[in-house]
């Protein structure tokens, strides 16, 4: 073991951290420290209470100077937490930061192993492996890549809108890509927002307008991201513009075409109104849609089906903005960072069949009722059952698709509040008896508990119990022709049957159907529940494990509007932080071909998903473009002549770890079969 790597034979400083009691209560740190002191190359071996603290780091820096150390090994918590901290400390002490190696004896040992003797043995093995490995570390230089100041934001709901405005106001270019024909997301569908009962459209539309008018924002609606390539600082995204069959820059939103459409009556379910009203094949999602441009639905427009329509719409348009021959177009953009704010999907109420959605016509989802109470909704703000009557009693069932072992375990965070809001609005619009069936009342935000108090005083009935079923099977005269809610009222300890005219299901928030597809496109992860995974649940809620890609809003997990806006601001700030720095340093764990050793066998070339390896015809050898290499090491493992090395994870480094972990192992021997031919 005599690797010198440029700064003399190894002189190692080893530090084992107590981490208070976290490590020291299970691992005998003094024993580890004494053991490591006996290993070759170790000049200094210490144990200390909190290595990550300032004095701990100074200890390292002072030892480097005093003992002329050229390698540092720290055995403490996970490298995912503090590797960076100690690398910086080593650097401050005058060493290349990659001469530092970290060993995990907390998350991997003291926090999970109970036998103290075995835990200490394990810590010693890990320490020895680390000491042997660090011999082979080399003085690597971090790669610096520039950050393109443009930002792509995917998803134009309230989170995407807020992030876009924040970044655009900082003077940077934003591409806001939204797959629907208008921005606004789910918030545009709401009537009033809790707890202030602000009109959702009133607070949202100014922001939507600001997006349209901001010169720094390129707004692409009815567009989807098809492909993403590159890495932080230089992402290349391909965006597909879906055909509206309208020339967006010519349409002024006068909607004459809609009036002139060959269909006199609207016949097709209006998606924005949750299917509660109809639209024509040419339509605008809602009156304040941004951009204020209509679109044509090719599935229902007669001209697409038969190419024989009179096209009265085209006649009516004096801007000549209708073009029924549009096709998908693709555009490539280059951005440095990406924010994903793709939002959520409401839980499909059909998955809770006991509540009868889709079976009993007067069972509604919360979003349907939002549209009903909205003055510009399908019923102009009247709360009516599907048979056109005003309900005299309404039951609101909480936790549909949330807090449920059969569907989703999580709490969707907003449903209690919006159920209270709907209770208030329904009562206001109909003066009906309103019953809220809840498990717990979750009102954590500013003004939320006070809102609940107000509702209590308004005469809304609150029944604590999980509803068992909604049935139309009448057992008593007052239940005839109505829906009966069967529930255990846990506060009084009886099972009750409550007949109502209308049932509202407070459906929870779930990930969108294509969340997995989307997150693979952007190379981030999802949690077990299917929401996009943040880098750290407490300390990094808007960044992901992929540098330069941020998440904000309900796509990261159920949340209300203030939290979505807060996250959007946070994501914008993190993106701006990268942009202002202008560059980012990448971990130098890339692979390189050793040219003289490569035989040009081409085995590695197809292995790289980033096309970082090419075959150079002039020298007949493979070549790795360092800028494209992400450091996975797959080619290194596959090279049959051992001619590729990966910085920080070289074969020698890993073999030395294996050796260190297994020193003196496997000496238990079994009986051997003897075939020595014995003398007769």
């Amino acid at each position: 073991m005599s690797s010198t790597n440029g700064n003399g034979s190894p002189r190692i400083g080893f530090y084992v951290c107590h981490c208070g009691h976290n490590i020291a209560s299970v691992v005998n740190v003094e024993e580890v420290q004494k053991f490591v002191a006996t290993l070759p190359g170790v000049i200094v071996s210490r144990d200390y209470k909190y290595m990550c603290s300032d004095p701990g780091q100074e200890l390292i820096q002072n030892d480097i100077k005093e003992f002329k150390l050229n390698r540092i090994v720290v055995a403490s918590c996970s490298p995912l937490l503090h590797e960076h901290t100690f690398r910086v400390a080593a650097e401050k002490g005058g060493l290349n930061p990659y001469y530092f190696h970290m060993i995990n004896i907390r998350e991997n040992v003291s926090w999970v192993n109970t036998d103290k003797v075995m835990a200490t043995e394990k810590a010693k093995d890990l320490a020895r492996a680390g000491i042997q490995r660090v011999f082979f570390h080399k003085p690597l230089i971090k790669k610096e890549v520039p950050i393109n100041p443009a930002v792509m934001i995917v998803g134009g709901g309230i989170a995407g809108i807020h992030a876009a405005l924040t970044i655009a106001n900082a003077g940077k270019r934003v591409y806001l890509v939204e797959r629907e024909a208008t921005i606004g997301g789910h918030m545009a569908m709401f009537d009033k927002t809790f707890p202030t009962l602000d009109c959702a459209a009133c607070i949202l539309t100014p922001k939507m307008s600001a997006v349209k008018n901001n010169p720094n924002i390129t707004l692409w609606t009815y567009a989807e991201v098809e492909k993403v390539e590159g890495f932080v600082g230089s992402y290349k995204a391909t965006v597909r513009h879906k055909p509206r069959y309208i020339k967006e820059d010519l349409c002024v939103g006068c909607m004459d075409c809609i009036d002139a459409c060959i269909y006199k009556e609207a016949k097709y379910p209006d998606e924005f109104n949750q299917g509660l009203s109809m639209r024509k094949p040419v339509y605008i999602p809602f009156p304040q849609a941004t951009p204020q441009v209509v679109l044509v639905d090719p599935e229902t427009c007669i001209d697409f089906k038969s190419r024989r329509c009179k096209k009265t719409c085209i006649e009516a348009c004096d801007r000549d903005a209708i073009d029924l021959h549009q096709i998908d177009t693709y555009e490539e953009i280059e951005v440095g960072t990406i924010i994903l704010s793709t939002g959520f999907k409401p839980f499909d109420a059909k998955r809770a069949p006991q509540y009868g959605y889709g079976k009993h016509q007067n069972v509604f989802t919360a979003l349907e009722v939002e549209r009903l109470v909205n003055a510009s909704g399908p019923t102009n703000g009247e709360v009516l059952t599907r048979d056109g009557k005003k309900p005299k009693s309404v039951g609101i069932i909480h936790c549909v698709g949330s807090r449920d072992a059969k569907t989703n375990k999580w709490c969707s965070r907003v449903c209690c509040m919006y159920s209270l809001k709907l209770a208030h609005l329904i009562k206001e619009h109909t003066d009906a008896e309103v019953y809220n069936f809840y498990i717990d009342m979750r009102t954590p935000g500013k003004g939320y508990e006070e809102f609940y108090d107000k509702l209590l005083k308004e005469g809304v009935h609150f029944i604590r119990g999980r509803v068992a079923e909604v049935t139309d099977w009448a057992l008593m005269p007052e239940e005839k022709d109505r829906l009966t809610i069967r529930v255990e009222d846990t506060l009084i300890g009886t099972v009750r049957r409550i007949p109502v005219d209308m049932v509202v299901l407070a459906t929870g928030l779930v990930p969108r159907d294509d969340a997995q597809e989307i997150r693979r496109m952007f190379n981030i992860s999802c949690s077990n529940e299917g929401f996009f995974l943040e880098r750290h649940p407490k300390l990094a809620p808007v960044s992901t494990f992929t540098d330069g890609i941020f998440i904000a809003g309900a796509c990261q997990g159920p949340k209300d509007i203030p939290d979505s806006v807060a996250q959007a601001g946070a994501a914008a700030a993190e993106a701006l932080s990268l942009i202002c720095a202008g560059k980012i340093e990448l971990e130098p764990n890339t692979a390189q071909i050793i040219e003289k050793d490569c035989s040009g066998c081409k085995s590695c070339i197809p292995l790289c998903p980033y096309s970082a390896i090419t075959f150079k015809d002039d020298i007949q050898k493979a070549y790795i473009n360092e800028a494209l290499c992400k450091g996975c090491g797959t080619c290194v493992a596959a090279c049959p002549s051992g001619s590729i090395i990966q910085n920080l994870f070289e074969d020698e480094e890993i073999f030395s770890e294996i050796d260190g972990l297994l020193k003196f192992a496997g000496l238990e021997t079994g009986a051997l079969c003897s075939t020595e031919m014995e003398v007769q």
Binding site: D597, C601, P640, C673, T675, E676
Partner: protein, 327 residues
Amino acid sequence: MPDKPKIGFYWCASCGGCEESVVDLAEDILMVADNVDIVFWPVAMDFKKADVEKMEDGSILATMINGAVRTSEQEEMARLIRRKSKLIIAYGSCAHLGGIPALANEFAAQEILDYSYKIAPSVVNPEGTMPLIKTKHDETRNVTLPKFRETVRTLDQVIDVDYYLPGCPPVPKLLKAAVLTLLSGVLPPKGTVLAPDNALCEECPRKATKPVDLAFKYFTRPHMILADKDKCLLSQGLICMGPATRAGCEAACINGNMPCSGCFGPTSRVRDQGAKILSSICSNIEAKEEDEIDAVLDEIPDPVGTFYRYGLAGSLLRKKIMEEEKQ
């Protein structure tokens, strides 16, 4: 006139091919004979063990020992020759990595003896007579046989080896270069394998026909297809060890339209040749689902025999762990 340097040749568990390869030097053998004194070469000359014992320690410049080590006699001779030689060159695949004989490490020694002397279809041995180490002959003499070891070993697992000449057998060009190096007195670092340190693809005449996007949909074997004489054999689905094998033979087997079987062993940067070729070939399989992958891999019926044909004793595991060895 100073004495000519002395060299020797010896053979352990060997087929004789390495001895023939010396003869394959053809005219160059005269150059060798002119410049050195061959003092020990059992197959070709009449020197005996006793003659070697009488030599002075270190008086032989270099002895090239071929063949793997399986018996106590081979060990004894290897040690004797080691004492008498300044340099030992492990000659040929068997001495270098175990060679074909090392495939026996997949079996217990007793299994092999039983098969050879009792079970094989062509054996007639009704009394089940087995070889012995020692027996009395005519009540007067003791006749002995060497001990048959549990495992086949490479030469360097028994004695200290200075250099390696790889190949089954080594090619005349490399042998000649080795002899000239010895005579020059300018010796490479101890432990060097005297062959190029790049893989065979470097000098393969079919290199240009190997695609950069090779993805195996299937594997096949030399007896199952008529291989195209001009195209890269891997691209035809044959397992060619070329990418994981040292160059130096000028792609002899490929020029015979047969895939490389790896006899030159791995480059100096690889610890286990079989592991590396397995890694490379498997990484380039097209299938992604486990059952599809397995279906393609089933077309490699004998991975040990294919990937470790010449190198089992010199591999990381060295031998199969037998049932009797486990407690």
